[in-house]
Point group: C2
Chain length 213, copies 2
DNA sequence: CTTTACATACCGGCGTGTATGTATATTTTC
DNA sequence: GAAAATATACATACACGCCGGTATGTAAAG
């Protein structure tokens, strides 16, 4: 072939990124070759090198396309000014798990970031990006747990900072574990129960004498 | 050099395995070359190919050296015949986290298995092994939660099977998350609180009328 | 003298990056 | 508005290095 129209070129670029996702999901980043990506996308390495500086640049663009539900979390935090913070947290967590179960694109990117050898070797470019996202998530979680404490729904024995870390790890573990064996559990259906058991543990126990307030 | 004594040879073998751990921890499995391992171990690839059939064989031997605390979990399950199952679970979890924080060897292997691209590409050999361990862990957890249910300490609304899965994911998330940023939290010190918040959520609430039994 | 425990040398393959070819879209010129 | 010039969007070909595997050398242990 030869030169395509501008729209065609953009489609090619997107196809390359899609192919990269698919191949990397199977093989992991270090084992993925530009040949495989090209074959999957139906182009040669020439096309890849035209659209991207090098392999690193391609990976960077691929990760950049992934949108994490950070906005949802922030929205939940904002709503929690007037609503039950722990309830917002449960709803957010449920939504995240359901999205993982039902959005194949999101699932692929999560698999790559969790099991794709992202932070080994010298892939410093997007680990900085992901680190920032993680840090933002943690901050939002801390704020939510602080609101819960102020609302009196958080068990006073629990440190909001630690709770945020623990909750984040719980979600990461659920993501990671489920992605290894997606068929073992109907995640969308169990999401509510899974989140519930955890949040039960951090919620203050109203031992009768709390109804007065 | 030339031929060493039998003990020397064993030491060389161990050095190669140690080096493999160290390099793979940094680079991940697919990006690790036998040259790097040899350099790290102070030998050439010749030595590696003498002790191991090929790369896969070396990796297999490396993973085989790692002992997972499956026995501890089974012991906890056995003790739970006469003790509080949820308490056994908490103690086991704490021990596991503390070991992760304090045993560098265990830490390395966990990092490799969690972030080393183990199950991508064609490393079928030891994913079978790890799959079996995981399955055993899950079974032991289910038994423990069932005991807790029988003992009346488990919230009756919670399904033991789901709880086992959820608890396993929680631990995996804690491992995975902490290994990414070990300095952010003093794991050994927080272990108790971290486990406590979770197990609080699954424990039956004795709303007064449970003291009779 | 044979076996062991490696080191060294060699080979085929593959992957990255780059240089070059080329047909077409787009722009420029008249 | 058609032809010429040029930039675009790739495909093809090439150079280079490195990696895994194997074949061979070799000095000391047994």
């Amino acid at each position: 072939m030869a030169r395509k129209t501008k729209a065609d070129a953009l489609a090619t670029r997107a196809a390359i990124l899609d192919a990269a996702e698919a191949v990397i999901e199977r093989e992991g980043i270090p084992a993925t070759t530009l040949n495989q990506i090209g074959r999957e996308a139906g182009v040669t390495r020439g096309a890849i090198y035209w659209h991207f500086k090098d392999k690193e640049d391609l990976l960077d663009a691929m990760v950049a396309r992934a949108a994490f539900p950070l906005d949802d979390l922030r929205a939940a935090d904002a709503r929690a000014e007037t609503t039950d913070a722990l309830d917002e947290l449960r709803q957010f967590g449920e939504q995240a798990l359901i999205r993982l179960a039902e959005d194949p694109h999101y699932r692929r990117v999560c698999r790559i970031l969790l099991h794709g050898c992202v932070r080994l070797g010298r892939h410093h470019l997007f680990i900085a990006e992901e680190e920032a996202v993680k840090s933002n998530i943690h901050d939002a979680l801390v704020r939510l747990f602080q609101k819960a404490r102020d609302q009196g729904t958080l068990d006073p024995a629990i440190n909001p900072e630690l709770a945020a870390w623990s909750f984040g790890s719980y979600m990461r573990g659920l993501y990671s574990d489920w992605l290894l064996a997606p068929d073992r559990i109907d995640l969308a259906q169990s999401a509510s129960a899974i989140l519930g058991t955890y949040l039960n543990g951090v919620r203050a126990r109203d031992d009768g004498n709390d109804a007065a307030r």
